[in-house]
Symmetry: C2
Subunit: 334 residues, 2 copies
C-alpha cells in the first residue's frame, strides 16, 4: 500500500532521468487502498477534474434541454487535440444556444499533438478558439449560462455565476473551501483553478462513482458524464492520446483524465474507487506511465489480464530518429 | 558553495511543480567553486558536449584544410533549430567534401522549435536529415572522415574511426574510460553517448578554457570551437533559443550548451571555470533556469550588472493562452 512509484527513463544500460510521483486511491469514505508520496501538499488539479466542472451542465438541466448526447458530454469534459471532429462538435454545441467561436474566452493555441498541428499548418490555417483543448468545456459553460438566462460575457471570471457554480461543486466534492483554505490560480484557459490535497479529488471521484456521501442527483450527474467519456473517449482527448488508450483497455470500467503539469484523476466504478496523482516536476510522460501502473495494481488481484495490459502501458519504448530502441520510460516500485 | 538550486514553477499564490538539479562548477584542477545535489551519479551528457565531439575536426586538420569559418564551426557544435540558414550551412559543409544529405546517418525530425516546424509544414515541406538538430555535428564528422580518407559509411557506429576519435577525446577530457567504467547508450542522432560524473564534464571544459592539465593543441582546439560558438551563437542553436541568450548576454565571455534530458555544460574562460548540470527529471525549462542561476552566482562578485542579467533569465513569466500572467518558472536557493 505504501510502495512508492517512481518513473524512470533509461538509456542503454543506465537510468537517465527520474520523476517522483505522489498519489492516492481511495473509496468514498476516503479510506486509502493505495497511497504514495506526500499526499497532503495541495495540488492544482488543472484539467483532470473537468468532470467536476461539467456537473452544472447536467444539474441545471441544460444538457437535457439541449438534447446533448454522449459525444457532446465527453467533449464538455475534454482536453481535446483540436482535430476537425473536435472543432466541429464544439461549434455545434455553441450553435445550440445561438453562440459562436467569438463568445469563447479560452484563447487560441496550436494543437498540442504535433501531427494535428502540422496538418493545420499544412492546410494554411491558424488555430482559433475552437481548437483550444478546452473549447468543449467552455462551450458547456456557455450552454449552461444561456440556459440559465445569464449574460455569457465574462463567464471565465471567478465571480460569474458559471464559475460560482463550478466552485460550489468543487467545495462539495473536495471538502475544501476553494481559494480560501487552499491556493488559487488562473488556468491555461483563463478560468480559476483551485488547489486541494489529492484526497479531495480522489475521494470526490470515488463518491461520484459509488454514489455514496454525496447528493444523489449530483452523483448521477457525475456518473452520466464519466459514462459519456468512457463511451466516447476520442471526444475527451483525441487520436494517439493516453486517456483514450487507458479507457479503451477496459471499456466502461475505467475513467481516467489527464491534467497539465503531471496530474491524472479518475475512477474505477466497479471497485468503488477514485484516484488522483501528481508528478512533482509536472511531466506528462511520467503521469501517463504512473496512472497505468496504478491501474495495473488495482486490477492485479481481480483481473490479471487487464492488469497486464495496464502494466504494458506503464512501459514505453524510446526510439531515436532512426527508429533504433535507445531506452524506455518505465514505472518502478521504489 | 553547497546551497542547492531548485527550479519551481508557480501558479497564482502557490508552487505548482518542482525540479531538482545537480551541478558542479570547478576549475581545471577539479576544485569546486559551486556544487549542489548528487554530483557523483553518472550523467549522459547528450548534446551538451558537442564541443568535445568536434575537437577531432580541428585536430585532424580537416577544419583548416576545408577553410571552415566560425559559423561552420559553431554549426559543427550545434543543436540547431533546423531554420533555413542552418540547413543551408549544413549542406554547404557536406558539399565541401563532395557529400550530401543522403550520407548523413542522423535521421529526420521536425524542428523542435514550434514556429520553425509550422513554417516548414506551411511551405508544404517535410524535414530531411539536414533539419536534424545534429546535422552540423554529423557534417563535421563526415568532413573529418573524408579528410582522413576513411569510408564515411557507418560513421555513427562505435567502432568507426570517427567515433573512436571522439571517444578518445572524451576519455581524456572526462578522465573516464567511456563505456567501460561508465554507462553507455545510443543518442538521439544514433551515435554512442557515454555517461560520466558531472565533474568529468565540468573539469574537462575548465581544462580546455584554462589551457591547463591538457595537451596544448587540444586545449587550443577546444577554445577555437568555443570562440566560434560565442561569435556565431545563432548557428549553434537558433532563434528564441536559450543558448543564444545566455551567450549574447556576455559576448565572448560565456560558453553554454544545452543537452537533451535537462543537461547544460559550458565554460567561463575569464574565471578559468567549467560547469555541468543535470535536472533529475530531464526538463529543459528547468535546466535553462538553472544554468542562468549558476551564471548569476559566478558573476555576482565580479560583475553585478551581468549577474543581474543572468538572474533575470533564471525567472520566466508563464502566461496563458489569453496572455494573462499565471505564474513563473524560477530558480530558488534550497
Amino acid at each position: 500500500m505504501t510502495t512508492d512509484i517512481v518513473i524512470e527513463t533509461t538509456r542503454g544500460n543506465a537510468v537517465e532521468s527520474r520523476h517522483r510521483v505522489r498519489g492516492l486511491v481511495c473509496d468514498a469514505s476516503g479510506t486509502a487502498v493505495l497511497a504514495f508520496g506526500d499526499i497532503d501538499r495541495p495540488v492544482f488539479p488543472r484539467s483532470a477534474i473537468k468532470v467536476f466542472q461539467a456537473i452544472p451542465l447536467i444539474e441545471t438541466g441544460a444538457a437535457d434541454a439541449l438534447g446533448l448526447d454522449a459525444g457532446d458530454l465527453s467533449l464538455a469534459c475534454a482536453s481535446h487535440s483540436g482535430e476537425p471532429g473536435h472543432v466541429a462538435r464544439a461549434a455545434s454545441l455553441l450553435a445550440k444556444v445561438g453562440l459562436g467561436e467569438a463568445h469563447l474566452e479560452c484563447g487560441c493555441h496550436w494543437p498540442f499533438d504535433q501531427p494535428v498541428a502540422l496538418a493545420l499548418a499544412r492546410a494554411g490555417e491558424e488555430p482559433g478558439q475552437l481548437h483550444n483543448n478546452c473549447s468543449g468545456k467552455h462551450a458547456g459553460f456557455l450552454c449552461t449560462a444561456v440556459h440559465e438566462r445569464e449574460d455569457p460575457a465574462g463567464y471565465v471570471g471567478a465571480d460569474h455565476a458559471v464559475q460560482r457554480r463550478v466552485r460550489d461543486v468543487l467545495a462539495d466534492l473536495t471538502e475544501t473551501r476553494p481559494g480560501k483554505d487552499q491556493p488559487a490560480g488562473i488556468d491555461g484557459c483563463s478560468i480559476p483553478t483551485y488547489a486541494a490535497p489529492l484526497r479531495g479529488f480522489a475521494k470526490g471521484f470515488a463518491r461520484l462513482a459509488a454514489g455514496q456521501g454525496v447528493d444523489g442527483a449530483r452523483a448521477a450527474a457525475g456518473r452520466r458524464l464519466m459514462a459519456a467519456c468512457m463511451a466516447e473517449p476520442w471526444y475527451m482527448a483525441g487520436t494517439r492520446r493516453a486517456c483514450v488508450s487507458l479507457m479503451e483497455a477496459a471499456p466502461g470500467r475505467v475513467f481516467a483524465k489527464t491534467g497539465a503539469e503531471g496530474v491524472f484523476c479518475g475512477a474505477v466504478p466497479e471497485l468503488g474507487l477514485g484516484f488522483a496523482l501528481k508528478v512533482d516536476d509536472g511531466a506528462t510522460r511520467a503521469s501517463e506511465a504512473a496512472v497505468a501502473a496504478v491501474l495495473a495494481r488495482l486490477f492485479r488481484t481481480g483481473d490479471a489480464a487487464l492488469a497486464d495490459r495496464y502494466d504494458a502501458m506503464s512501459h514505453t519504448t524510446l526510439r531515436n530518429w532512426q527508429g533504433t530502441k535507445v531506452g524506455e520510460v518505465r514505472a518502478v516500485d521504489a
